[in-house]
Amino acid sequence: MNNVQEYIDIYDRNKELIKEPCAQLLNVAREKAYIKFKALGFPAKNDELYRNSDIVKQFDVDYGMNLGRIQTVVNPNDVFTCDVPNLNTRQEFIVNDSYYKTDKQNKTLPEGVVVGSLNEIAQSNSELLAPYYNSLAESGDSIAQFNTTFVQDGLVLYIHKGIEVKETIQLVTILNANIDIMSNRRILIILEENASANLLLCDHSSNEHKSLSTQITEIFLAKGAKLNLCEVEETSYSNTRLAQLFVNQQECSVFNHNNITLTNGFTRNGVYVMLEGKAAETDISGLVINDRKQHTDNHTLVDHKVGHCTSNELYKYILDEESTGVFSGKMLIRPDAQQTNSQQTNRNLCLTKCARMYAQPQLEIYADDVKCSHGSTVGQLDENALFYMQQRGIPIDEARHLLMYGFAGEVIERIPIEAIRDRLHMLVEKRFRGELNRCKGCSLCKQ
């Protein structure tokens, strides 16, 4: 409980400092979240939902928090070169925990699209965000409450009715500091009726200092809205990422989520999808490639509140060396959610004796007219396939790569945007070869 008290003290001492630069909207939610966090504390190890991920330990490090909003000085030409070849993107940046304006945001977006700093928009146009901000994360666990207590900025994407944004919007979050640092950031995405967007989130950290980031994303998809969201984590071995994604889907909305973890330290991703409107579709998938002592925990909950919805889930893990993978996914079919079609698949490759996999695919079903299934496997590369390839002159290492590449490919193929798919194929291949475990475009990583 000690480090919980530490953060409670930090908040008590710096309450005014934290609140001062922030919009009223953030501060009101902050007070409520603080009370909840105080009561909950960090999830303990005997918490069934955090059974295999020790969160308390992650907060043991004495991280610096930028509560006074000191602007980080970065050289934009050095830092913001993360782009995807053959893809026209509009780039947005969050450096540490603040939204960062650059001249790179030159590409204009259609009218009716609001994108920018959460704090600024909450100040200038609070009525727009008031019905949404923290309305999903409010009922979240202590990590969500912690984030709401300390968050000061983030990104807003608001798309008005009927607008289809063709261009991919890319959000790059960068942790860049010369001390051990913690950043709490927030992403709020609202798509009104029949709006659609593609979003690419790249999570980077730049140095070998210890870092911890909490990221809460709230997504609201109104009737007929469509969102493709692709998240790529390429941080460092000394990074801790605690991310939670809350999605609220109305009638006929479509949500497609891919979460690719290529390089990380300790990661816990929570995905909570609420299907509140009929005929909504959700497709969530994840790929984890871990080695050394990396730890990746994906926790998902798809809550079918109404009938006639479809959900599809695929998570794949490749675990090398002493890495740990955790997958716990739950499909919750509520009593009135008849005619639900729900599928969950989890496949895992353990490459060494020391790699560990914990899998918990769960079904909780209260309606009878449903089609639900889940499957989970843990195994190794197929000996016969390896032998077959060797017979045909492919060296064993190459054959192994090919098989792993094919295994990972299934997740990447689910990304709807071709340029991102190509990019990820390339990154995954490089990751396997151990040549480069960072994205090439990011000059930060070149250092």
């Binding site: 004796k353 560990r356 996999m357 695919p361 079904l363 909780e364 309606a367 009878d368 299934s373 889940h374």
Partner: protein, 482 residues
């Protein structure tokens, strides 16, 4: 048509539980409550050696420090452990008379249950240990078994007559610290069966224990210990029933099985405790810890269970696959109706090399019941070439019930091959229509389909049990569809 079906089904449902009678047997029940004196009293009544009392006290002290776990997917009303009587002895009367004759009422009770205590029915080729409330009433075919060196007797007798064997194995598979109910059971357990199969002996008949709760306001806390020495084989059956009462009764048992080199144990259960009425009143809380330890190389343990009774079932028969090449199997049909709740499954702990386990679980939920499968497959670091296959299917009959699957897979070895799959569905309209077309009524068709669905598991039961289980399935189900 549907309405008419419902009426027929309702009629059958009302007569579903046929073991709900109460026998008028003079029973000695000790005062309710749980404290050190009660434990001393139980120990004294059973004339136990000092080490047994120590064993109980240790467990009791640990139990006091524990709280009832809240993780299962069950809604358990608070249990007042002080209002339960922990010892009820239906043999009191005969003991007073100083002869070994069993109360004719008691004989009648077991006859009514279809468990003849006289050995005249050798036809069934099954030796029975009959346990009512806290005491083993009689064990049949004891002498015949003794000729082969097989020990089959009640636990109390075993503690008196084979203390070394009991002391060597008791509590080595399920430690009193294992869980809340294991601690409680270790403190207050009253009777149960003890089986020892010596080296190289193949048990010539099925061994069976029949548990019956009769007295009101009591709990049943029995303990079964089975030891299969090298190269031996035994098939063991367990059955249970209880009277219909409006209050809930607690049954917290422990079953420990030790399987040594090349030995094989088959453990089958048909659990038919009183499930409560259609409004969810009454019924038995069945919180049981069952575990087998495959200590020897090439040992094999197979659990088969048909769970149709109990208001709340909470148990995970498990296998610790310690010996190299050992095998664990778990076959289960769990059926819940009305307001029944079940959170059941298995644990397969792979420790030795080349260990294999199979899990087949079929859940059927009807009425307003909740049926959960929860299973753990753990492959430890040194368990090379472990293999597991799990299949958990759920069938939903009715729109107000729930079927849930919570598998856990903890894999610490890269040579393991683990598969898990689960599906949930209802009986399809097509299947019913097909049967109807061929002149099979809806009700019968459902029975057919459910029996077919559960067949994979029922096939693993010994013959007599399989027939009983099949009947039980259709009886428990009827009235739930419509």
């Amino acid at each position: 048509m549907k309405k008419r079906n419902n009426n027929i089904l309702k009629k059958i449902a009302n007569k579903a539980y046929e073991y709900g009678f109460v026998s008028n047997i003079k029973t000695e029940i000790i005062e309710s409550g749980l404290n050190e004196n009660i434990i001393k009293l139980i120990s004294k009544k059973k004339n136990e050696p000092e080490w047994m009392l120590e064993f109980r006290m240790q467990a009791y002290k640990y139990w006091l420090t524990q709280e009832m776990p809240t993780w299962p997917h069950l809604n358990i009303p608070p249990i007042d452990y002080q209002s339960i009587s922990y010892y009820a002895d239906p043999l009191k009367k005969s003991k007073e008379k100083q002869n070994k004759e069993i109360d004719p009422e008691l004989m009648k009770a077991f006859d009514k249950l279809g468990i003849p205590l006289e050995e005249r029915l050798a036809l069934t080729n099954t030796a029975v240990d009959a346990v009512m409330d806290s005491v083993s009433v009689k064990t049949t075919f004891k002498e015949e078994l003794k000729e082969k060196g097989i020990i089959f007797c009640s636990m109390s007798e075993a503690i008196q007559e084979y203390p070394d064997l009991v002391r060597k194995y008791l509590g080595t598979v399920v430690n009193y610290r294992d869980n809340f109910f294991a601690a409680l059971n270790s403190a207050v357990f009253s009777d149960g069966s003890f089986v020892y199969i010596p080296k190289g002996v193949r048990c010539p008949m099925e061994l069976s224990t029949y548990f019956r709760i009769n007295a009101a306001n009591t709990g049943q806390f029995e303990r079964t210990l089975i030891v299969a020495d090298d190269n031996s084989y035994v098939s063991y059956l367990e059955g249970c029933t209880a009277p219909m009462r409006d209050e809930n009764q607690l049954h917290a048992a422990i079953v420990e099985i030790i399987v040594l080199d090349n030995a094989e144990v088959k453990y089958s259960t048909v659990q038919n405790w009183y499930p409560g009425d259609a409004q969810g009143r009454g019924g038995v809380y069945n919180f049981v810890t069952k575990r087998g330890d495959c200590r020897g190389i090439n040992s094999k343990l197979s659990w088969t269970q048909v769970e149709t009774g109990s208001a709340i079932t909470w148990k995970y028969p498990g296998c610790i696959l310690r010996g190299d090449n050992s095998q664990g199997e778990f076959y289960s049909v769990a059926l819940t109706n009305n307001f029944q709740q079940a959170d059941t499954g298995t644990k397969m702990i792979h420790l030795g090399k080349n260990t294999r386990s199979t899990i087949i679980s079929k859940g059927i939920s009807a009425g307003k019941s909740q049926n959960s499968y929860r299973g753990l497959v753990r492959v430890s670091k040194n368990a090379d070439n472990a293999r597991n296959y799990s299949q958990c299917d759920s069938l939903l009959l009715g729109s107000k019930c729930g079927a849930h699957t919570f598998p856990y897979m903890d894999i610490h070895n890269n040579s393991a091959v683990i598969e898990h799959e689960a599906t949930t569905s209802k009986i399809s309209e097509d299947q019913l229509f097909y049967c109807n077309q061929r002149g099979i009524g809806t009700e019968e068709a459902i029975g057919l389909i459910v029996n077919g669905y559960a067949k994979e598991v029922l096939n693993k039961l010994p013959m007599e049990f399989a027939i009983e289980a099949q009947k039980l399935l259709s009886v428990s189900l009827e009235g739930s569809v419509g």
